[in-house]
């Protein structure tokens, strides 16, 4: 196309564009026309000065970085002079109260410790499944069929048919859509929390949550707000405090509690917590390591105990190591929530799966609980019985019980105040030593005191099993009273 200057059309178009251009710039002109130019000079110079200061600073830091290690000092010399601290900090094995005890038998309602036969109040053995011949036969059959180890993570030839069966049974038992199993109780809670809680989120947790939850929260790097133990009012207060930030940042919030608290033996106040959860749009995770298979009419745990609809709870995490007397853990909830762990639960993806024999043991134990709800009634009866017997005995002069009556896990605390954790623990250790040598197996609750969020009060952890009869409870009380008198005497003499 050839457009000559003489072409009238072309001339008019250029004129038109120039006039359009003029119109386009006119608002700027009018704008700048009204601005006094000395303003621009002043602001411009301020900007220049600012820029100069900024660049000067970075330039000087860059220079200082370069010259930082003085060239006169020999680098090799400096490296040679660096001496590390010893690999481990100081420690004292004598502080471990139970370190001398080696178990040499099956662990059920009776246990042999260092050759001494004892009644067992020390391990999670609520239903005596370890002594159940039917379960034992199934476990032996499992070894005949599958061998011992699973030899692989779940994704890579480590999913056995009985893992799937156990998952289905657990989901069915809890009346929820889906369950996943882990090969270790401790890692279950930690991995499950990490799968959902991310660094942007906020988590409200009870201050007495167990160590596994604390570690899960720590590795998630989320903001953690601890509320007073079993105090929904304090939770409400803290939520309102943090609510403004939450809304602004649109971050997820979680509430993490335990069904029965491992550290105190109390049952959580789930009804109030659920109300708060709904009101503030928080998701709730419940660790039912202790309460699963224990609370409620059919052992469905704390949700059944308070009669809470299942869809009010987002995730229930449980242990196969307590009421089911096997190994491992599980978490159960809706498919939408639980399925995510199959790829994001660290302990699920990156660990070898649960040994088949333990999976079978858990299936059989679960069937027993499902078929025999009377077991639960008996356990609750025994728990209340032990609680009341201790409360009404002379023991109460020296001890107090910190747990709910119905809970099979009880903490026996010393009434006196002690100047140090160790001293108190030591006294309990002497009491436990006396009891074990007199045929009652007890344990001092073990804590890594330095690493706990809230320093626990030293205690003797009592665990009830259905085979404990009145006679056993009586002998427990007698031996404990003797022990207290003896130990107290010794310490006062000293």
């Amino acid at each position: 196309m050839q457009a000559s200057v003489e072409d009238p059309v072309a001339v008019t178009t250029t004129a038109a564009t120039s006039s359009v251009a003029h119109d386009m710039y006119s608002p700027i002109n009018t704008l700048f026309g009204q601005v006094q130019f000395n303003h621009i000079y002043v602001e411009g110079s301020i900007l220049l000065i600012l820029l100069w200061i900024l660049f000067k600073k970075t330039a000087s830091t860059a220079n200082s970085k370069k010259t930082k290690p003085p060239e006169t000092v020999d680098v090799d010399e400096q490296i040679r002079l660096w001496t590390p601290q010893p690999m481990i900090d100081s420690y004292n094995l004598d502080e471990l109260p139970m370190k001398n005890y080696v178990v040499d038998s099956k662990v059920y309602d009776h246990v042999t410790i260092n050759g001494q036969s004892c009644i067992n109040f020390a391990t999670h053995n609520y239903y005596n499944f370890i002594n159940d011949k039917n379960i034992e036969n199934s476990v032996v059959d499992a070894v005949h069929k599958y061998g011992i180890g699973s030899c692989g993570p779940r994704a890579f030839y480590g999913t056995f048919d009985i893992h799937i069966e156990l998952e289905e049974k657990l989901a069915q038992f809890m009346g929820m859509e889906e369950a996943v199993i882990y090969s270790y109780g401790f890692s279950t809670v930690t991995s499950a929390i990490q799968a959902y809680v991310k660094s942007k989120d906020i988590v409200y947790a009870d201050e007495e949550v167990n160590f596994a939850i604390q570690k899960g929260l720590q590795s998630s790097k989320a903001e953690v707000v601890y509320f007073k133990h079993n105090c929904p009012d304090d939770l409400e207060r803290l939520i309102t405090q943090h609510d403004a930030v939450k809304k602004r940042m649109k971050r997820k919030s979680f509430l993490i509690v335990e069904g029965i608290y491992m550290k105190t033996g109390n049952i959580c106040k789930l009804r109030e917590l659920i109300d708060i959860r709904i009101k503030h749009k928080i998701r709730i995770f419940i660790d039912e390591s202790i309460s699963f298979g224990v609370l409620g009419k059919n052992g469905r745990g704390v949700t059944e105990y308070f009669n809470i609809p299942k869809d009010e709870v987002d995730l229930i995490i449980g242990s196969l190591e307590t009421s089911l007397s096997s190994v491992g853990g599980f978490s159960v909830g809706s498919t939408f929530v639980v399925e995510h762990q199959r790829l994001s639960g660290l302990g699920y993806c990156f660990s070898a799966s649960l040994p088949p024999l333990h999976s079978v043991a858990a299936i059989k134990a679960l069937e027993q609980i499902d078929k025999h709800p009377e077991l639960l009634v008996k356990l609750q009866e025994r728990s209340i019985n032990l609680h009341q017997s201790i409360s009404q005995s002379q023991l109460i002069e020296h001890f107090y019980l910190g747990s709910d009556q119905i809970s099979p896990l009880k903490h026996l605390y010393l009434r006196d105040n002690f100047p140090s954790y160790l001293e108190e623990q030591n006294l309990l250790k002497n009491i436990v030593d006396y009891c074990i040598s007199n045929g009652v197996a007890l344990t001092v609750a073990a804590y890594l005191n330095k690493h706990e969020y809230k320093q626990p009060k030293p205690s003797i952890r009592l665990l009830v099993s259905i085979n404990i009869n009145d006679e056993n409870i009586e002998s427990l009380i007698n031996v404990l009273s003797q022990a207290v008198i003896l130990v107290m005497k010794k310490t006062t003499i000293q």
Partner: protein
């Protein structure tokens, strides 16, 4: 894992060249092969992945998939982010049928797998009643101790009858069984160290013990390809973690020199302790740690060395004692030994071994010994039996035979694979044998083809490997005979030709590959 490695160092921090010399050790294999992929493959593999994501995105926007949704949580911030969902639904789902196969028997040399079908493109699976028997190159059964008969199973059943199958108490409470004491002594003897402590789960051994040893004033130099449990453990310990290039001792030394000079990031105080954390055999790369070089660095700079022997214990060395035995180093040169019993010993759980005071310290301070349930008695007994067999304590040649068989199998299989023109990563002596297929779609295709030939293998892709480096992983086992390996190789040859996996650009050796005795005197 966030890496804070800076690529440029001031001149005075550069190496004085001491580590650049090739080591002169002759008794082990330094031949690590890492053939670089061609530009074309890189490009196409990445493009393939992004294409899948793109299709996923379009799919996601147009059709709503029939997946589970959250009920009763309207108005809550979403639980998951969108990218993860798209990846899972449109990329991962396409290879989902290769994973999570349902096993219904012993994971020995053969493995029984339940057949299953999907009627909706891998959204869901339906298990059938029929089974297929596969040759097993997928399970971690290096020494073939995964058995349902023989001494391991017999001893274990005895223990189940006498001691039950669970203890339900932690080590610091009433959870110490005499089997634990026995196993700890045996493990210490096996490794040639003072003492050991055992835990119920291998993954937890790393996660719960690293925080007991390290603190916020420590520096951890961690290999690029360390296992998730190691990374989780370091994260929990609050120590500063710096990543060094995989098995790159020169980079490692540079980082150590640089960081000793620079000190802690904010306070500029000198580091209290520096740890090198590495693995014996890397589970995705099949490489073996360059231990002699790392020990030299460790001694020179007075740093501590933590070696995770999850895959190498039992599977390396003329006596099966792991990477230490392989390089013939002294046990004193490694500060902290960590390992698992899952892989070579056909059981479960993990251990930490080392000097007496380290182990006693862990007895008192490890998270696992305080809170986690102790190892179950039958699991402990299986390890005691299999370890005794390996050490020849049962007065038979069984253990030695297994160790030799594994070593011979590994050399033979690796050389044969290379002769097929495949790219095989890692050390020639490593029982983890990754064969590179690059494309995520080829991962699926190859595993399916292997399954058609009744062979069980593992396909790994993103996120366990880099985007464009999908691979098939064979786990060698002493339970497999030469005839069985030949069967596998025959099938592999067909698959390599069918799917197109001969990516290697190296000259293929035409010599006949013989099944040789590696440890022949």
């Amino acid at each position: 894992m966030a890496s804070i490695v800076t690529k440029s160092y001031p001149d005075h921090l550069k190496l004085n060249g001491s580590m650049k010399k090739k080591s002169n050790h002759k008794h082990y294999n330094t031949g690590e092969s890492y053939e670089k992929m061609s530009f074309y493959t890189t490009l196409m593999a990445s493009l393939g992945f992004y294409f899948l994501i793109l299709i996923g995105l379009v799919n996601h926007l147009i059709f709503t998939p029939k997946v589970a949704t959250e009920k009763n949580r309207k108005g809550y911030p979403p639980l998951y982010n969108t990218f993860d969902n798209i990846f899972l639904r449109y990329v991962f789902r396409r290879v989902k049928d290769c994973l999570n196969r349902v096993v219904c028997g012993v994971p020995g040399s053969k493995i029984e797998i339940r057949d299953r079908v999907t009627r909706d493109g891998c959204w869901s699976f339906e298990l059938l009643d029929t089974k297929s028997t596969f040759l097993n190159l997928g399970s971690y059964n290096y020494l073939g101790f995964a058995q349902n008969n023989g001494p391991c199973a017999e001893d274990t059943i005895k223990i189940i009858k006498n001691y039950g199958w669970s203890i339900s108490s932690s080590r610091q409470e009433l959870g110490t069984n005499h089997l634990h004491v026995k196993l700890e002594q045996l493990t210490a003897e096996f490794l040639g160290v003072d003492d050991a402590i055992v835990f119920g789960m291998g993954f937890a051994t790393n996660v719960l013990n690293l925080p007991a040893i390290m603190n916020s004033e420590c520096l951890v130099l961690s290999d690029e390809y360390n296992h998730a449990s190691v990374i989780a453990g370091i994260r929990l310990s609050k120590a500063t973690s710096i990543v060094f290039n995989h098995n790159d001792v020169i980079h490692l030394e540079e980082l150590i020199r640089q960081n000793i000079i620079l000190g802690q990031p904010v306070t500029k105080k000198p580091w209290k302790k520096i740890f090198i954390v590495t693995e014996g055999i890397f589970s995705m790369e099949g490489s073996i740690v360059k231990l002699p070089d790392i020990i030299a660095i460790k001694k020179k700079y007075k740093v501590y060395l933590y070696v995770d022997e999850a895959h190498s214990i039992g599977a390396l060395g003329p006596n099966g004692r792991g990477v230490l035995d392989y390089y013939n180093c002294s046990p004193k040169d490694i500060d902290i030994f960590m390992g698992t019993y899952t892989k070579s010993f056909g059981s479960a759980g993990g251990y930490i071994a080392g000097k007496k005071d380290l182990i006693d310290y862990l007895r008192a301070n490890s998270h696992a010994s305080c809170y986690a349930m102790s190892m179950a008695p039958p699991v402990a007994q299986t390890i005691i039996t299999s370890m005794s067999t390996m050490m020849g304590k049962d007065h038979s040649e069984e253990g030695r035979k297994k160790i030799n068989q594994l070593a011979n199998n590994v050399r033979y299989f690796r050389r044969k694979l290379k002769a097929l023109g495949c790219v095989v990563y890692g050390n020639d002596d490593s029982p983890v044998i990754p064969m590179l297929v690059y494309f995520i779609s080829k991962v699926g295709a190859t595993v399916r083809e292997f399954n058609k030939h009744n062979i069980a293998t593992v396909g790994v892709g993103f996120p366990a490997t880099p985007l464009n480096q999908g691979r098939i992983r064979f786990c060698m086992s002493a339970a497999l005979s030469k005839e069985e390996l030949d069967e596998v190789l025959e099938a592999t040859e067909k698959i390599v030709n069918k799917v197109g996996l001969s990516y290697s650009r190296k000259p293929i050796c035409n010599e006949e590959i013989l099944y040789e005795d590696v440890y022949a005197v």
